[in-house]
């Protein structure tokens, strides 16, 4: 059995699998999925925006109406409004600047862009403590201390929120280690396979001219 002889067999096998009825079903299913995906993206964006607007309205209003002597909690509330704005802008930037690789790029290029994007995603998630959790903790704790004053209640609140932040960060790091890092390794290995093929040709004198 030779590899050259298998092409016809392979194509025949797939022709049988690709019937006219299946083609029609595929068209219907594709149209349906296009509608569904557009709806999902719209809902996700709406949910994130509503959450941010809620934080901004709630704490923004507090900043505006709270009595002047509540200066510390006003600072905390203002901080949280800024934090919500920052998170929205950062997520928006991540989605618009770090776009996924174009699916119609050559496979090697597609892998390289995906790998870069994944590296950035890993960095972003690993540093979630510094850009997401820490500013939020500063804001909520300043706000609470401003309301309750320095005392045992504030201390307990601070400890609870710090533990919560630590837990979220730990879960996040675990998700990176279990999900994104193996994915990155898989992608890097695939890219290496293509790069090796190119390097082998380029490193062999006389053969590249035949190509």
């Amino acid at each position: 059995m030779r590899l050259e002889e298998l092409g016809n067999e392979w194509r025949a096998m797939n022709e049988i699998a690709a019937t006219k009825e299946q083609r029609e079903q595929l068209i219907v299913a594709t149209c349906r999925r296009v509608d569904r995906i557009s709806g999902q993206i719209f809902r996700r964006d709406i949910c994130e925006t509503i959450a941010a607007v809620f934080v901004m309205i709630f704490f923004g209003r507090y900043c505006y109406v709270a009595p002047a002597e509540r200066i510390l909690s006003k600072i905390g509330a203002g901080f949280l409004v800024c934090w919500a704005l920052f998170i929205i802008s950062r997520l928006h930037r991540t989605r618009t600047i770090q776009k996924p690789a174009s699916i119609d790029a050559p496979v090697r290029e597609f892998c390289r862009i995906e790998l870069d994007r994944l590296e950035r995603q890993i960095q972003l998630q690993r540093s979630v403590l510094s850009w997401y959790l820490a500013p939020c903790m500063v804001g909520v704790n300043t706000f609470f201390i401003g309301l309750a004053g320095f005392g045992i209640a504030s201390l307990v609140y601070c400890i609870v929120t710090l533990l919560l932040a630590w837990g979220i960060d730990a879960l996040n790091r675990r998700a990176v280690a279990k999900g994104l890092v193996p994915l990155r390794n898989e992608l890097a290995s695939l890219l290496t396979q293509f790069d090796e093929a190119v390097a082998r040709i380029e490193g062999t004198p006389g053969r590249s001219s035949n190509a």
């Binding site: 059995m1 030779r2 590899l3 298998l6 092409g7 067999e9 392979w10 194509r11 096998m13 797939n14 022709e15 699998a17 690709a18 299946q22 083609r23 595929l26 068209i27 299913a29 594709t30 149209c31 999925r33 296009v34 995906i37 690789a101 174009s102 699916i103 119609d104 790029a105 050559p106 496979v107 090697r108 290029e109 597609f110 892998c111 995906e114 999900g179 193996p182 994915l183 898989e186 992608l187 290995s189 695939l190 396979q193 293509f194 093929a197 190119v198 082998r200 040709i201 053969r207 590249s208 035949n210 190509a211």
Partner: protein
């Protein structure tokens, strides 16, 4: 591009490429997931039809989209199931003298499963009858690099089955 135009173009493309996409789904997904991958390929082609710039033929472009979708699917599936690619050693365990049609299909499926994702893409392009130039363009490597890779796969196949 208006929706009816896009649908007409997609329908024509599907007519010509359905078998190839089914082959990619066969190579990169478990039996139970093949229809899902085929649907995902169709969806990606549909969504990206506007991006086709005419630098290659529409069929080659669609092959690129399908292959990228298959590879991305495979990576996600690997993460889900934690089942990594079978080792090359498995090739030696496969029957080497397939004479009947069923045997040929089985050998092909097993050989594909035993290959790495990159080699699988190279072999698929070869089996689907793309020219060396088109195959190299789909992969984004030179024709020479494609030939070298294909030669290695051929040798590997012959060692196991001939």
């Amino acid at each position: 591009m208006s929706i009816p135009d896009r649908q007409a173009r997609f329908r024509e493309l599907l007519e010509r490429s359905h078998a190839r996409w089914a082959g990619i789904a066969r190579a990169y997904a478990e039996v139970r997931d093949r229809d899902d991958l085929l649907q995902e390929i169709a969806l990606q082609v549909w969504q990206n039809l506007d991006r086709f710039a005419g630098r290659s033929t529409l069929d080659t472009w669609a092959y690129r989209v399908a292959l990228n979708t298959g590879l991305a699917w495979r990576r996600k599936a690997t993460m889900r199931t934690k089942k990594l690619t079978q080792s090359k050693a498995n090739i030696a365990e496969l029957p080497g003298d397939g004479g009947s049609e069923g045997d040929v299909q089985r050998v092909l499926d097993r050989f594909l499963t035993a290959l790495s994702d990159g080699d699988r893409a190279v072999l698929l392009l070869h089996l689907d009858g793309l020219s060396h130039a088109d195959a190299a363009e789909v992969l984004g490597i030179s024709e020479g690099a494609y030939r070298t890779r294909l030669h290695r796969i051929r040798r590997c196949f012959e060692e196991a089955y001939c």
